[in-house]
Amino acid sequence: MPRTRIELADAIEYLSILDENGTLDRSLEPSIPAETLLRLHRTMLLARRFDERLLSLQRQGRIGTFPPIAGQEAAHLGAVAMLRPSDWIVPAFREMAADIWRGRPLESIIVYNNGFNEAGRIPADRNDMPISIPVGSQLLHAVGIAWAIKYRGQSDVAMTFFGDGATSQGDFHEALNFSGVFQVPAIFVCQNNQWAISIPRAKQTRSPTLAQKALAYGIAGIQVDGNDLLAVYAAADEAVQRARAGQGATLIECVTYRMAVHTTADDPKRYRTDAEVEEWRRKDPITRFQTYLAAKGLLAADAVAAEEAAVQAEIQAAVDRAEEQMKRLGDPLLMFEHAYAQMPAYLKEQREEFIRLRAETQEEK
């Protein structure tokens, strides 16, 4: 066979169920209980409004820098909606709706964004990893967790999140390659929000889709409309079933958009146009989902307003609780904790030195 085309074993598909006009492809509609649909709506709305509130708290100097999620609610919430509590989530830093869905109290998010380590604590009943800021590195943790799940004979999955930018990182490659070789129950959810700070998707990689990178690893890959919660749900559900069945990992590219700043330290006007943002605003995942719920008779016209009010009340209560909590935080001695399971001698000495110096420098003043 002198010069022959190599047939690729796997195909890469694109999935959209509820399009940007709210038109539904019934043949693909996932069957999600009404109650869950409403909870998903509520969570998206809560996350969106909370995001806005965080932004205003940040502008008032009441919290530090943080990465808003507006526009990406469906892309990550849709992916975790069918997970069990015992499944593992390995997030990046732009999955707040999923975090809330999994049980993170809003006030904890505020306290964390105010620079208190306490709020990084993961409660014993959640199998989720803390947020991970070094782009791309967390994917490997998901592979290790998935490996361990398989080793222990469990049917759980490890789902990890990352952005389009993360696909360029060497650790992305190593993680996907390991997941293929070891056939572990890992699900890689890429929130392709078109930008990595100021770098547009097209400058991140020359491959036409991110999903097709799966072909390099012999794992399944699919591209979905990331602003379509139903499509994200369906693709993730398929991946989760594949993983639970021992059939290996999946790369899901959710095509979405970061509608706000990269973080509150960023000025997107330097690198993208308002027109582009506007165009994506029309594809808003929340309004689209509301159209769907309304058409299903699950969301009456006035119900949205009621939800909005409920959500705002919830947020206000969380802000109040956070401010209350923070009054009791800040003991600097905490910084010596959790470096090791047991504090080594030398660190104890440093802790004592700190206490002594604090006292002595107070006196000197």
């Binding site: 360029s168 973080t263 910084m335 470096a339 420098t361």
Partner: protein, 326 residues
Amino acid sequence: MPKMTMVQALNLALRQEMERDESVVVLGEDVGVDGGVFRVTDGLIQQFGETRVVDTPLAESGIVGMSIGMAVYGLKPVCEIQFSGFSYYTLHQMENHAARLRWRSQGRYGVPLVMRAPYGGGVRALEHHSESRETFWSHIPGIKMVIPSGPRNARALLVSAIRDPDPVVFYEPKALYRAFREEVPEEEEAMPLSRSLIAREGRDLTLIAYGAMMRPTLEAAEKLHSAHGVEAEVIDLLTLSPMDDSLLVASARKTGRVAVVHEAPRSFGPGAEIIARLVEKAFYHLEVPVARVTGYDVVIPLFSRETHYLPGVPRIVHAARQLLAA
């Protein structure tokens, strides 16, 4: 002379070196259209175009590995790692290649790259955005490790780093990016690498610092003078490696009392090497143990507590007074 922030001064250095030498190219994440997340490369892409100011994909090892190839070819890449907390991805390329290609090729290929990265705490940032791990680079034979402490020397050292025939890690104290302005000459100014400076003369004791810690150290020296009548000599290291220990040694011989200040964790930090040099070369002049006023051996806490972690004026003054009391 115009007054500039460190960001403006660094920008000036880059701009002028790029004007002077077309082999200088700038690359990194968001250095182009965005002008860098701290705006150090602001305006460069407008002036020099995207062939010389290159926005790269998100891959630190890639940025440095590619810079090595560019440098071997004869260019002078100045690459930016967005925060030093992500520069560890580049250690392999730096240690195993950048630092060794001259040696491996027995003189044929130098690697005149500069790896710039903001480092250090004090800006209320997220995790991984406040570290001080200059020890990693300082320990590598073949690498030069430079840390400026103000707008003027930042500009003059960056110019030298770019012109240097060897790989230079250039850590920029992000707490000082916009903290104050200094007069910076428009005309070319370079400062030799591997030279420390006496930032303040004194005879009673020696304070050795660098980067962002120079400010509290100098403030502490002022306070020691005004409140206690003590004359502290303050040395600004500027280049950590290869270290110029001549001034340190001379000062220690003169005062016999020395404190080293850095925000890096104490153990295996730069202070240890300074103490070792002083022991080797000024032991018999030391009156009291050299003190280390440093970060603790823990991860720098999230920002609500970081001032407790960072050495500040009170800790430096206190250490100095203890040295004098001993």
